[in-house]
């Protein structure tokens, strides 16, 4: 009897270092700015310094005549190009026409006016200074509340934030006139959607356009969009028949790439005396900005969907008011609507606890949807897939030593010290999502190809840009096929390589894209077994450890032998085609609903108002974990962005619509010395809606963080009668409270 050694090593669930890293740590990865082509031209965009103005005239004569300049285009020239799309259809939604260059009016600081193209980027920049624009400056509106009547309730602000991906946006367009082929390299999270929409804007057949998202240096939602510059760079390349590169400056990134949040919320929460929540009411004012970008109107809707939080209440009412302002549009930024909602709800629950003199942990435990109620339909029309909300909270309370801390706090208060303990328990809507609930199709695709040599190539419609799916997807495939990680290559981000796809956002890549991959692997395994059975001349075979084994004889055929046979096709099993490739477009039956509990312990400097985070405990439940190293990384990064919002970050426009935090000089992102140590822990409640049991973890940290921090600081200051503080919790705000309430 032949013996067969079977590989037993599995990869899913292990801390495996990432397969994408070698190119990134050696500086050999290719981001958009690294794309070089012979004859490259460079585009620089002239933008409005005014928030609202009429353009009386634009004089480009001097710029056109400047050294190295090839051409200058203004709004007059681009009449044939379609508008920047808004992907959300709603009854009575007002969608202002959004041309790729301004024509007669500008609506925000940074509004593109003209594009200068030169053979050298230094010369293009010089020439941009030579364009004369005559503006008639008009009054601007930068504050969404100023346009509306006053309502007095608990007002909670989620301030505007700048996503600030480390790599700014950038586009390289390469037009091959003879082939009618436009190649567009763009730093995006959604290459296929960009292709469909930009081809439409340019009037180009979609199959004549190839979009490549090379290495993408972070997105956080800001690259989940279709931007004027993508069409503009393509347009210029088609006009001058040369490759053209446009790289966004950081200043442009601050003023012209979408911002996140921008909510003013008015909440009401009703409860019985015993703390049972009866209902939550919200009026939400969304600062839209000057236009609707791709998903702008969707974001506040996500907030409303998330309004029940983890709580068992069926009484929810929400009104959304979208307000146009002379500011850059808001759109999806990490969490996209869900951090705003969670912040509001978790603040309200703490206020309720204070009102009823209940412990904030107790009131949450009392109101959680209990384990036995899943799948749980919410008042907002969702069905929570699975959950066990008390477990992570109890675990977090244990880990932080909650009862001891409360005693310590009581002692600290006797000495007039300000120490706070803040809890936030969050839920989120992830794995976006079933198609009927999404604007662009909520499925994801995967193709798995086993090459004749037995090596495995995966093409995913997800478009990871830091999330590590080149590794986690390889882990899934390696375990399913019983091969090593080195046998697998994951390709993404190129419309000429990948069938079609939706992209990476909304904590969806693994839950939806990974599931598509899982099902494609099942199809493939069936075919491998068929061929194996044929080659082994036995019906009783098992696929394991990268081999098909005859259960009777123990004889086996390796994947390589089988793959070779499928392509050589000397003999085929009945009703089977040659080759070894499977594609699945997988539609999820529901969203997933991760959850968790974050507890933050703060100490406040009573003299300066500075906040020090003593402990940060995060217990997140994202279902099954494929790679703990990557999951922890996602949690840490998410928390950093949540903490950024809670303590430092704010995009501030002055009354004239000037973004006065328009550079890293004034917009404070978290730096290493500002971050606390994050104690990251997990519970595991698998999702029943996908075969991997995963829920998604990309946004959890951000969503869980900000209310925990604010609750902690409000808790510290509660002896002074402080009920609520809006973010960011700057030392000066705290100092003012200390000074006035003491």
């Amino acid at each position: 009897m032949a013996t067969t050694t079977v590989k037993t090593e599995t990869f899913v669930g292990k801390r495996i270092r990432r397969r994408e890293d070698p190119r990134l740590i050696t500086g050999t990865a290719t981001y958009v700015e690294d794309v070089q082509m012979p004859g490259m031209h460079y585009a620089v965009i002239l933008r409005s310094p005014h928030a609202a103005a009429r353009i009386r005239s634009i004089d480009t004569k001097q710029a056109v005549a400047a050294p190295g300049v090839v051409c200058v285009f203004t709004g007059k020239d681009i009449k044939g190009v379609g508008a920047v799309p808004c992907g959300i259809a709603m009854p009575d939604l007002r969608v202002p026409p959004h041309t790729i260059l301004a024509t007669d009016r500008v609506y925000f600081v940074g509004h593109p006016i003209a594009v200068v193209v030169a053979r050298d980027r230094y010369l293009a920049r010089d020439a941009a200074d030579l364009i004369e624009v005559d503006y008639q400056v008009l009054p601007a509106v930068a504050d969404p509340e100023k346009a509306l009547a006053k309502v007095v309730k608990q007002r909670i602000v989620s301030q505007r934030l700048v996503p600030m991906a480390m790599e700014t946006r950038g586009v390289v367009a390469e037009w091959h006139g003879a082939d009618r082929q436009l190649n567009l390299y763009t730093s995006t999270q959604i290459p296929h959607l960009v292709r469909t929409l930009v081809a439409g804007m340019l009037g180009l057949e979609e199959n004549r356009m190839r979009v490549i998202a090379p290495e993408v240096g972070g997105g956080f939602g800001s690259k989940l969009n279709v931007y004027a510059e993508e069409a503009l760079t393509g347009y210029v390349s088609m006009k001058i028949q040369k490759p053209v590169k446009w790289i966004e400056s950081r200043r442009e990134n601050f003023t012209c790439t979408i911002h996140g949040r921008g909510h003013v919320d008015f909440y009401e929460i009703a409860a019985k005396r015993d703390g049972t929540i009866l209902g939550i009411k919200l009026k939400l004012i969304q600062d839209v900005g000057a236009y609707h970008q791709l998903l702008t109107p969707l974001i506040p809707q996500l907030s409303v969907l998330m309004m029940p939080g983890l709580y068992n209440t069926q009484n929810i009412r929400a009104d959304i008011v979208g307000v146009f302002t002379n500011c850059v549009p808001t759109d999806a930024y990490r969490g996209a609507g869900r951090p705003e909602a969670t912040h509001g709800i978790e603040r309200m629950v703490d206020m309720l606890a204070a009102e009823l003199q209940m412990d904030p942990a107790e009131i949450r435990l009392k109101n959680f949807v209990t384990k036995d109620k899943f799948p749980y339909p919410t008042a907002t029309g969702l069905v929570y897939d699975s959950g066990d909300y008390a477990t992570p909270l109890k675990k977090a309370l244990d880990l932080v030593g909650y009862h001891k801390l409360r005693q310590e706090q009581a002692d600290a208060r006797k000495q007039s010290k300000y120490m706070g303990i803040g809890i936030s328990t969050y839920g989120e809507i992830c794995a976006i999502g079933p198609s009927p609930a999404t604007p662009a199709g909520g499925w994801e695709s995967a193709t798995v190809k086993i090459e004749p040599s037995g090596k495995v190539t995966i093409m995913t419609g997800a478009c990871p840009h830091g999330q590590g799916e080149e590794t986690t997807f390889a882990q899934i495939a390696a375990d399913e096929l019983g091969v090593g990680l080195d046998d697998i290559l994951v390709l993404r981000g190129d419309t000429a390589v990948v069938q079609y796809g939706i992209g990476t956002f909304g904590s969806r890549a693994t839950a939806v894209g990974g599931s598509a991959l899982y099902y494609a692997l099942q199809d493939l395994k069936a075919k491998i077994k068929k061929f194996g059975a044929m080659l082994l001349e036995s019906e009783d075979v098992t696929l394991t450890g990268g081999k098909v084994i005859c259960n009777k004889t123990g004889n086996s055929k390796s994947l390589q032998e089988i793959a070779g046979a499928t392509y050589r096709a000397l003999k085929l099993p009945p009703n089977t085609e040659p080759g070894l490739m499977a594609t699945r477009f997988w539609e999820p039956p529901n969203f997933t609903f991760p959850f968790g509990a974050h507890i933050v312990v703060t100490d406040i400097d009573g003299e300066t108002g500075q906040i020090k985070i003593r402990r940060y405990v995060a217990v997140d439940d994202c279902g099954n974990i494929l790679n703990p190293l990557i999951v922890d990384g996602q949690v840490h990064g998410g928390v950093a962005q949540g903490l950024g919002q809670a303590l430092w970050e704010q995009a501030v426009y002055d009354d004239n619509g000037q973004l006065i935090t328009g550079e890293l000089m004034d917009y404070a992102v978290p730096r290493s010395h500002m971050m606390p140590w994050i104690e990251s822990h997990h519970t595991c409640t698998p999702s029943p809606v996908n075969p991997l049991g995963v829920k998604g973890v990309g946004e959890a940290g951000t969503i869980g963080c900000s209310p925990a921090v604010v609750n902690s600081v409000v808790d510290a200051l509660s002896p002074l009668g402080v009920r609520h503080i809006d973010m960011p919790l700057t030392p000066e705000k705290i100092w003012k409270l200390l000074a006035t309430k003491n």
Binding site: I25, M166, E215, G217, D632, G637
Partner: protein, 154 residues
């Protein structure tokens, strides 16, 4: 102006405009695109390279100012296919996600250990003050620097 710079042990001579930034010399003249430009106010650190043994921001220096200097970029760290221990540590500890800040982060991290072979967590965090990472929350980066320090101490 004619200038000659040594980058990763190789000499590059070029007639450049005085206003050419060092990062553009590194990226465009030497063709080493591992060094990234992340801001224009010298605050993000993505462009960090080593100049005569010191970590500096190559976006805040004109190439002519670096005339005759010896520069090391992220591409110069691995030798004969063997990664620098700091690169290895970033990989092992998952000290990167999107990777855009990583070359600058690795160069700044090396400077920390050059000057202090056994830094505390606080010293590491302060040593990285000039480098922004938007993905990792820094914790795994701190772990990487600790691991590299521990490895070097063995």
């Amino acid at each position: 102006m004619d200038i000659t710079l040594t980058i990763n042990g190789k000499s590059y001579s070029q007639d450049v405009e005085p206003r050419l930034l060092l990062i553009h010399f590194v990226r465009d003249v030497a063709g080493l695109t591992g060094t990234h430009m992340g801001c224009e106010t010298s605050l993000c650190g993505a462009c960090t390279v080593e100049l005569n043994g010191k970590a500096i921001k190559s976006c805040t220096m004109f190439a002519v100012q670096a005339k005759g200097a010896d520069i090391v970029t992220v591409e110069g760290l691995a030798s004969d296919g063997k990664l620098d221990p700091m690169q290895e540590a970033f990989w092992n500890e998952h000290g990167l996600q999107c990777g855009f800040c990583t070359p600058g982060m690795i160069m700044a991290s090396k400077q920390i250990l050059d000057r202090n072979p056994a830094p505390t967590e606080d010293e590491i965090r302060h040593g990285l003050e000039g480098n922004v990472c938007r993905c990792t929350g820094y914790q795994h980066i701190v772990n990487a620097v600790k691991a590299a320090a521990a490895g070097a101490g063995k």
